[in-house]
Every structure is written in C-alpha cells, then in structure tokens.
Symmetry: C2
Subunit: 448 residues, 2 copies
Amino acid sequence: MNETFVVIGGDAAGMSAASKAKREDPEREVIVFEKGEWVSYAACGMPYYVKGAVDDLDDLVTVTPEAFREERDVDLRTGAEVVDIDREGRTVTVETDDETYEQPYDDLLVATGASAIEPPFDGMDLEGVFTIHDMDEADAIETYVTEESPGTAAIVGGGYVGIEMAEALSARGVDVHLYEMLPHVLQPFGEPVAEVVEEHLREQGIDLHLETAVSGFAGDERVEAVELEDETVDADIAIVGVGVEPNADLAEAAGIERGPTGAIATDEYGRTNDENVYGAGDNAEATHVVTGEPDHVPLALTANRAGRAIGQTVTGDPTPVGDIAGTAIVKAFELGAARTGIVDEERAREAGFDPASVTISASSRAHYYPDGAELTVTLLADRESGRLLGGSVVGREGAKRIDTVATALTAGMTVTELQNADLAYAPPFSPVWDPILTAAKVLSGKLE
Amino acid sequence: MNETFVVIGGDAAGMSAASKAKREDPEREVIVFEKGEWVSYAACGMPYYVKGAVDDLDDLVTVTPEAFREERDVDLRTGAEVVDIDREGRTVTVETDDETYEQPYDDLLVATGASAIEPPFDGMDLEGVFTIHDMDEADAIETYVTEESPGTAAIVGGGYVGIEMAEALSARGVDVHLYEMLPHVLQPFGEPVAEVVEEHLREQGIDLHLETAVSGFAGDERVEAVELEDETVDADIAIVGVGVEPNADLAEAAGIERGPTGAIATDEYGRTNDENVYGAGDNAEATHVVTGEPDHVPLALTANRAGRAIGQTVTGDPTPVGDIAGTAIVKAFELGAARTGIVDEERAREAGFDPASVTISASSRAHYYPDGAELTVTLLADRESGRLLGGSVVGREGAKRIDTVATALTAGMTVTELQNADLAYAPPFSPVWDPILTAAKVLSGKLE
C-alpha cells in the first residue's frame, strides 16, 4: 500500500505541503482535513476586501478547492475537523456533519494556524464587535459596514491588522478611533517607524489614542460605545486586533510539545518531538536567523515555505524549512513600513548582543528627481562582531528596500559588508548611495 | 609641513576622496584640480534635465564649489588642468588660463573620469550632432531642442544613455528613431530584459532600428539626416551614445598601468602600480565580486565609494574600495530595468562557471491587489556550487528588487540560501513569494 501523508489545516502551510508532496510523489496518498470551507486564502488581503480595493472575497483564494482536487490530485476534505491525534496508532479522528471516522497516517502535518486573541472585554459578543482572522469574519465586517453604515469605529490594537483596518474603514467613510495600550503603534517595528506612522495616521484623520487601555464595549444588542478607564467613546463598530495565538491545543493533547513561545516546537525540518509529526505555519515556531533561537512570527511566507519544505521532506528529500528574520511590511495609508531582524537595542541586549544603532532619513530618489519621498532607515549591529542585527524602513515609497537588509541577515553579513553591497542607482530609483547604504555607512562609522 | 593629497578631477570619485580626507585629517592639505567649471555633478541626471523633469542644470550639482571650499575646506581649483604627472619628483604640472605651475604631492588620486566615445562617423561635427557626457553637452542639447524644435531625432546606441535620451526627447515632442547595431538594446542587461524594453519602447512610439549600423550624418552646416547602410533617414538632431572610454592617457604617460579593460589597474585599496598614486571612478578598474577579476563598469556609486575609501586610506585608515557587481538600473518610460552580476550563460561560461538560468514572470503585488505590474526576473547560478552568479529584473514597478540579488552576490550566497531569505510580504507590496524568491525556487529546482 502507498504511504499516506495527512495534513490538518487547509491554508498556506497545509496546502503548500500537500501540493508539493503530491507533485514530488504522485503515488502518495495525500489527504487534507480542513474544518471550514475556505482553503488556501490570503488572510492578509482581507482588509483590502473591507476597504473595497478587492471586489470579491473569492479573489483572495489562491487555489480553489476544485483545483486542488482535480489539477493537483490532493484529497481535500473541507468541513472535516480533526478532533484527536493518536500517535501510537498513527491515526487521526475526523468529525464531519455526518460522521466520525479514523484516518491512518504515515506522516502527519499539523497546520492548524492561529486564532485572533479575544481579550476578556465586556461586551465582546455585542453585534458589531469583530475580530478579523478568517474569511467569514472579513465577510461579516464588510456586510456590517455596507448595511449599517457605521459613523464611528473603534479599532483596538495598533498592530498591522489595526492599522490596515483603520485605512480600510476610513476609506469606507467611517470616522476611525484607534486605541493602543502601549506608547506606540506597530511595536515590533520599533520607535522610529512608529513615530512616522503615527504622524501620518493623524494627518489622515485617524483619532489615535496611545497608552489607552480599552476595558470593554457598551451597547444594548449592538455596540454603541467603547469603554476606557475614565471615559466612554461612541463607536458604531469595533474591530479587536490585539494579536493571534497559535492553535496548538489539538497537538498538545496528543503530547506534541510547545516551545518557549507557546507555539509547536519544531526542528530545522519542521519536525515535532514525534518524528512522524510535523508542525508548520501560524501554529509553529521557527528558528530566528539572528538569535538562532526559536521564535513565533506567524506570517504567510514562513507558512508557505515551511509547508513546501515538509512536502519535500516527507517524500524523501529532506529539506530545511528555513530560518526566519521576522521580516514584515505593512501599508498605512500612503506609507509603507517594514522591519526585519532585531530592531531595538533592548531586544538586542536580551539576545546577548552589544548593539549600536542609527536612524537616518534620506530621499528615495536622487535629490533633484521629482516625487521622491523621505525614507527613514534604522539599522542595528553588534559592536564586537560588526554583524548586522536588523533594521526598519518607513516612507511613502521604497519600504520594500527592507529586503536588502533581510537578505544581508540571512547571509550573516557585517555592516561593513552591507555598506559595500553594489546596489542599484539611477536618479528615478535612488540616490547614488541608497538610503540602506547611507545607514550602513553611518552605523559602520559608529562601530569604529 | 603637512602632507599634501592632490586629486585630479572634481567629480564623484575626486570630490568624495577630497571631502573624506579633509574630514578625517583637517590638517592635511587637500587640493583638487578640475579642468572644467562643474564639480560634483550628477551626470546621470542630465537626460532628465533635457526631458524637462529637472528645471535647472544647477540642481544636478550635489555640492557646490563654494561649499567644498568654505564648508569642507577643500582647496578646489577649477579651470585648472593637470597636464603632466612626475612620479619621480612627486609633482603634477597644472595649466590654467593664466599660468603653468608645479604642485608637489604626497598622495595623488587620478580621478579623470571617462569620455563619450566619438565613433568615426561622417558628419560628427555637424551642428545638432551631440554626445552626452558632461554638463555643457546637456545644456547644449536642451538649448538646441528649445530653440530649433527638431521634428525627428536619431539616437545612436541603445544603451542606457540612448534609452534615457529617447524618453527625454519623446517627452519634448520629438519623433525618436533609435539605432542599435546589436540585435538588442541594453546589451549588458541580457535578452529577457531587452525584449520587454523593446516592446515597451515601440508601444511608446519609438522607432526602433535593431541590427542597424549608422555610418554617419548628412547635412549642410546642420544635421539633416542619418546615413545607414542602404538608406538615409531624416534627423533634425542626433545623439550619439555608444559608450564611454576611460580617460587614462595622462596617467599612462606617467607610467601608470592600464588593466585588461583599458582602464587604470588598481588593487583593493584603489592603488595603482605606484603606491602613492590612486585611481578611482570612471577611469579605473574595480574587482568584480562574482568573477574576482578586474572589470570596468563606470557608474556613480562605484566612483563615490572608491573615492571615499581612498580618502580614508591616504589619511591612515586603509579601507578597501569594495568590489563591484556591475549593478545597474535604468528607467525606460514606464519601465524599470535592472541587472547585477553575470546575466547571460555565455558570459558565465567565459568566466569559468557551469551556468543554469531561469526567467520567470510574476506580479509585483498580490494577484488580487490593484495596480500590480508584471515583473520578469532572470537568475543565473553555477551548477556545481549552487552559487548565485547574477540576474535581472524588468517591469513597471519593483525593478529595485535587483538590490536583493546584488546583496546576495556580495555575500556569495547560493541560490538555495537566497530562496530561504525572509523577504517582506504584504499584498500591496509583493506576492507571498516575492518574484525574486520565485525565480530562486525555480532555479534551485533546475540545479538538482
């Protein structure tokens, strides 16, 4: 009999693994269980559906269930929830609306993703209060905005979901208040980025409430206000985006270990403490390329890459899932903001480095070329080794330049090596010294 | 007495070296001789002055002569041509309109730049026939276009100067014919880029004549036509942009050696065969990061970086000038085209590699996100080592992604390592797999 590869979860990591395994070994039985109906969808695109920049929720689906089944020959079973893993017997228990059954496996991938954290706020179940992590939620928000025409929105959390939803709702004509407990939005991006983004959000008419804790929502059936420590502010719709937590309970119940971050611990091949059970995507840890330590950064590329690698590994071609640098980019109205590696000195010291950092501003184009934008670039390095530790970029164009820094991190470059990278220059695209090089040059001087 | 650092040539390499040396050691005598009046100007910006996108030629000057003299305390002497170098006596002979004198030096930098090649065409001295390499030429072209309102232009040479001037003249309402001897424009960018650019140039109304040799220009006092092998085509203005050649005669006359490319041979610190004489910028060779061989790629960043490093070296802090990857980017109307390293298999084989290459097309943004552009990415690698050798990118947005490849080349990464770089993703900026990663993934598969 052919070997069976079972995948729990039909989004990025799961479907990448299934597709790759089937392509590498068409004889292999590849079964994916997805408890919902949506598979392989771009969660990151949901704010743009709410905004109206993407017409149809189906547009966010990368590969349809039909294509997986027919073109890729994957046995994809939607509406099928795995409720138990029996590692001894190598079976999973599957529940559908109609039946419960057991499915044997040779290799198992747990790709159950993450869930939006639901804080213990009063009134979380009022109508008009949403988290946003799956397609049904995106659909519900869009419908609510269309049907109820909310005048004022309360967005709780200034992470990238909060900021993208602020842009989306603002574009829909809603007056947006954004509440963030911490002193700055986009905490993982560091202060230099946050300050630029905050100024821009205010320019765009967002009512920004920093260091402001939300305690709950008030209203009859429907949300009418957001409750702060000593104030109540009107709100016709509320979006709670305070982070995600890995869905690791199913795995943990079967004795699969969590790592220090609470996500499933994995080795460089995505294997858990059971050599036939893999973890990948938003529920799993990955190794940080700078610290060498396990980290949990639930992002799409990490999930896709790890899934694909595991698809290769289970079919006999052991492939590392790759390290992560925590690279992220977010659009905030007209700005792009991006980060990679370690972006603040405190975090660098915690990781055992002796950091130096610089923040510079430079034009995205030659100074005389029209329509250039100011880019703010931060870079960090270790004083002793000169090794680059991370950085951030924010501006109206060119935030994707973070990729240069991310690539340098993957290569383990020093600041001096980065400073000598031969980057592209022509007046419409860059100053002679690209802002990344300028930052490296200044930082390099500081390390001497 | 203080040591004297003499610099011949007041553009990127020369002024960078002078400024850096003076900053590192304010006591040092730093004298720059520039035979013209313009210093530290952005030659790359000249087409945009002709186009009308830059209002004033002075805008292209990065630092004014006054600022060099007063703020940076550099003894900058314009209108002063060095006509002889006496290496034995460590002096240079300087000619101005008024006098000839000798200037002793301890260290000397020859930063005499390059000149536009003037092919032996008939009629090169007709009015309305221009090369474009210095500010006076840019000024003359702009004036000619304004005063004579040429109806038709002949641009000879499909390199980046030719393409930028095609865009510039087209924007000024001139009907542009572009003549290229070779089968493709932008020869150093490789065929996949050339094909995309050629299609776009034609869409933009440029009359593209490939594999078409120009033999000269016809006209009375003023150019009236361009002469081809068996045809004569009307032309009211002609721009000849068939490349540049290093200005190395002065140095050669003093026994400074040229390298295999014809430019001044230098070591990793920019030193020539005389340890007190340096060469940098468009007249000097640099080491190619992929081949390890001397190469001559006269571009602004190389000149600035080498100049700066030499300024450090002569003041007692030996600093390598850095390797080059031949990274270049050019705007062709709505397109950006970029290249780095080795972009075609033939050249890779000449350099001793066993190359494999791929060309892929992918969207610059998530497939569902509005206004994405198709990017065509080419990557080359060595089959045996897996080492990345170079690549190119062309598309309506995102050509600056070449920096990721350039950084990977500087770091000596393999394709597999590049494939695992944690690049930034969000729908407005990239697909989940950045096109560079997609190309690396496909190429990696091909190497197995």
